[in-house]
Amino acid sequence: MKERFAEQQPPSPILNGERVGISGAAFSKYVSALEEPGKKKSHLHLVVGEWKAPHGKVPATTEAYVTARKVGGETKLELHAMHPEELDEDTLGGLLSEAVPRAMDMKTSPKARLALEAVMVERRREQVVKEIQLRVVDTGIRYICEQLIKEAVKGETHMKLPGSEVHDAGIELLRSIKTALRDGSHLALPELQRTAEKFAALWQTLAPKERDHMRRNLAHLTA
């Protein structure tokens, strides 16, 4: 995953973007969406920096903040978060939606809002993939989950639910993957973690034949 972030050379780069799940390409698209035609192109550099306790008028309890400084023709934005990997969508999206347009002296627009949303959807997808890779041990089931993620992101999946003999935990896992991809609230990802853990526990108890049956049924559900 890190390589995918590093290989791009976008006009508005982001350093340590993988810590918050944002790629340079996605961030650049957001910056471009904020630009007005005919106006000089903006060069923004976003850095996910080390944690520095806030001071001045920023409350000491603040867990994440963004600083903007103009250096030459470039604006340097620095994101400081106590736990960047754990930033929720409301915090990260909120900070970027205010700090980036202000740093560019631009007003946000529906186009920019959609571009920022795309950044968040990509981030959500990365988080879900990471969770699955971490918690689903069986390669067959993991493949099924990854296919579901791929299809759900494209918005094409029509999962056939209940009526099947498959174990409830498997259905629950697939459902929570879909929810976590769609729902950016603070509840969806922990719910995915819960169902993935429950599934992992159930998996341990299954005999090889039952595992095979589970794989086949889940594959059938997402086909």
Binding site: P54, G56, K57, V58, P59, T62, A64, Y65, V66, T67, A68, R69, D90, T91, G93, G94, L95, S97, E98, A99, R102, A103, P110, R113, L114, L116, E117, D183, S185, H186, L187, A188
Partner: protein, 176 residues
């Protein structure tokens, strides 16, 4: 001051009503779709507050630094409505504050067989009607009456409402 705001999603689907007083939350009534889309956030806000981004300028060695940070606004705070409005906008939703005198017409619009876009557009036009709320009340009440009595004139009355909507939206556009 007591105010009612209507929340719509990006596809103009109505999600619920938010009652506020002097900017603070009084009551929320979400429908099933609103519960699905906003419900999880609402329960979080009740305990942690609504997120709002603030900006401060700090001077550092002859240089200025803009700092953006997020705070949580308690739901009873006078800033609740502003925070919710900004949150809604960021999530592609629309929060429409509706004058008390328009509520009856709005309740009628909810009952009529309209598409989400039509209902949303009519609400915007109704809000913009300023001194002409009475005409809207009358037209909506007539359409609701026709719906209740299964009067075939319902179709005609809905067309009338759509004409009023177009006129109202045009007026709003011209003002803008």
């Amino acid at each position: 001051m007591h105010a009612v705001s209507l929340l719509f999603d990006r596809h103009h689907v109505f999600l619920g009503e938010i009652m506020s007083r002097d900017g603070g939350l009084e009551r929320v009534l979400l429908n099933a779709e609103g519960e699905r889309q906003v419900g999880p956030y609402m329960s979080d806000w009740q305990t942690r507050g609504v997120p709002i981004v603030r900006e401060v300028i700090q001077a550092t060695q002859g240089d200025t630094l803009e700092v953006f940070f997020q705070e949580r606004v308690p739901v009873r705070s006078h800033e609740f409505w502003t925070a919710l409005d900004r949150w809604s906008e960021r999530h592609g939703m629309v929060l429409l504050r509706i004058p008390a005198e328009c509520m009856r017409a709005w309740e009628g619009l909810l009952r009529l067989p309209l598409t989400d876009v039509e209902r949303f557009s009519m609400t915007v036009a109704l809000r913009a009607s300023d001194n002409d709320h009475a005409a809207w009340h009358e037209a909506v009440a007539e359409a609701v009456g026709a719906l209740e009595t299964k009067d075939p004139s319902l179709k005609k009355k809905l067309i009338e409402l759509k004409k009023m909507m177009t006129g109202g939206l045009m007026k709003k556009l011209q003002e803008a």
